[in-house]
Amino acid sequence: MTGGYGGEDIIHGCDIEVDRNQIVVIVGPNGAGKSTAMKAMLGMISLKEGSLKLDGLDISKLTPQDRVAAGIAFVPQTMNIFSELTVEENLEIGAFLREDNVRETIEEIYNLFPAMKDKRNQLAGELSGGQRQQVAVSRALMTRPKVLMLDEPTAGVSPIVMKEIFERIITIKNSGVAIVIVEQNAKQALNIADFAYVLVGGENKFSGEGQELLNNQEVRKSFLGG
C-alpha cells in the first residue's frame, strides 16, 4: 500500500496481512503512519498504489460503506459510540446494513459482554469508560465482520480495564474473526498478538510473531523503552 492525504505520501509500500482467528498488532512511534494505514484499509483515504484484498476479493475501489458491507468493521479511538442512544440501539445501528434478523447476534453479544445486557436500555454516554469501550466493540461486531479493526482500544483506560478488553478481544478472535489492532501500549498488545508489524516512517520496519518482537533487542530498545 502507498498513500497519504494528498501532498506527501505518509505510508509507502507497507504490507499488512491477517488471517481468521488471528490477532495482528500494528505498533510504532507517533507519526509512523499507523492511523493512516488503518484509514487506507477502511477506504477513508484512497491508495496510490497497491491493493486491499478480502478473502481474495479486491476491495480497493469500494467506498467505506461498501467495505463495511463486505465485512470490515472498525472501532475508532474516540467518539466510537452513539452516546445519546441506548446500548441496544447502538447495537441495532451497528447492524444497520443487515436485512436479516439481528436478535440472535444481539444475544450473542450479550453473552460475550454480560454487562451490556444489564445496561441495554441505558444511554451509552452514561456508562463508564470500560463499558463504553465494550459498546464500541459490540457495535462493530454487529455486522458479523470478517475483519475487526481497533484503533487504540486501550487508550485512556485503567490497567484492569485494559486487561479485560484484551481478554475479550481474544474471545472474539476465537469466534473466527480476524483482528487488527493499532496500539500505543505496545508491550501489552504484543503479548496477545499472533503477528505484529512495527511501522516506522510509513514502512514495515519489523514484523514477526508478537513474542518474537517482544524479545527482539532492537525493537525493545527503540520502541518499548528497553
Binding site: 458491507a69 467518539m79 442512544l85 441495532e92 451497528g94 444497520f96 446494513l97 457495535r139
Partner: protein, 339 residues
Amino acid sequence: MENFEFINAMVLLANFVIVPALSYGSQLALATLSLTIIYGVLRFSNFAQADWMSFGTMATILFTWLFQSAGISAGILPTALLALPFAIIVTALFCLLIDRSVYSFYRKQKSQPIVLMIVSVGVMFILQAVVRFIIGPNDRKFFDGEKYIVHALDFKNYFGLAEGLTIKSTQLITVIVALVAMISLFYFLQKTKLGKSMRAYSNNEDLALLSGINPEKIVIVTWIISSILITTAGVLYGLDKSFKPFTYFNLLLPMFAAAIVGGIGSPIGAVIGGYVIAFSEITLTYAYKKFFVYLLPESLEPSGLMQVLSTDYKFAISFIILVIVLIVRPTGIVRGKII
C-alpha cells in the same frame, strides 16, 4: 355564590389564556420541532425556516383555492386540511431542490455551521421573494367550514354563567393535529430503523458512516420531515389567525427562542419550549383585573389592569425568556446539544 365567582374566574382564564395558549403553543411546538430537526441532523440554525413556513402555507392556500373552485370541500372541516398533503409534497420537493442546488455543496465542503447559517439567510431572501411574488404580501384568510365548537353565548346560556368560553374549531383541530404529528414523529424517531439511524447520524456522524448509514438518505428524510412539520404548523397558524408573509417571518424568533429554551437539538425540548414560550407570551400580557375582581372581595379589588407587561411587548417576551435562559441555563430545559 362564592363558587360561581370562582367558576367565572376560571372560565375567564380558560377563554383568554389557556385555550389560546394551548393552540398557539401547539403551532409553535411543531414549527420548533422542524427547526430543531434541521439543527440536529444538518447542524445549522436555519434562518429560512420561518419562510419555509410561509412557503408551505402559501402552497396550501393555492391548493385550497383549487379545490374550492372545483367544488371539493371537507364538509365541516376546513378545505385546507385536504390541501395540506399536496402542499407538503410541493414544499418537500422545493426543499430538496434547494438542498441539491445550495446546501449540498457546503455539506460536501464540510463547511462550518456558521457558513451554512449565512447560506440560509440567502435562501431566506429568495423564499421571501418567491412567496411575495406568487401570493403577494397581504393578509389572507383561507378558513372555511364550521367556525365554532363552543360559542361564548351558548356556553353562558347553558351554564348560566357570566363568563363565556369560546372554542374555535381551528383550536381543536390544531391541538389534535399537533398531537398526532408529535406522536408520529416520536414513534418514528424512537421505534423505526430509519428514525434510529437519523438519531444516530445526528449524534455521531462519522460513526454513522462506519455503520453503513447513507448520509444523503438521512438528509432527504430530514428535509421531508421538516417540510411536513413546518407546513402543518404554518397551516394551523394561518387557519387560526391568518396568513401574512411578514407575520410568519416574525415567528422565526419565537421558534428559535423555543428551540433554545427547550434545549436545542432535542425534540422533546422543542415541544416543551414551544409551549413555554406560548404560555409566557399570553400569561404575561393578559390583564388579570377582571379575574381578580371575581376572586377577591370588593375591598381588595385591584385598581390597575394587573398586567405584567403591556401587549405591545408580546413579541419581545420570547426574547426576554431566551436571554434569561441563556444566562441561567444555556443548555435549555432538556439538556440539548453541547453549546
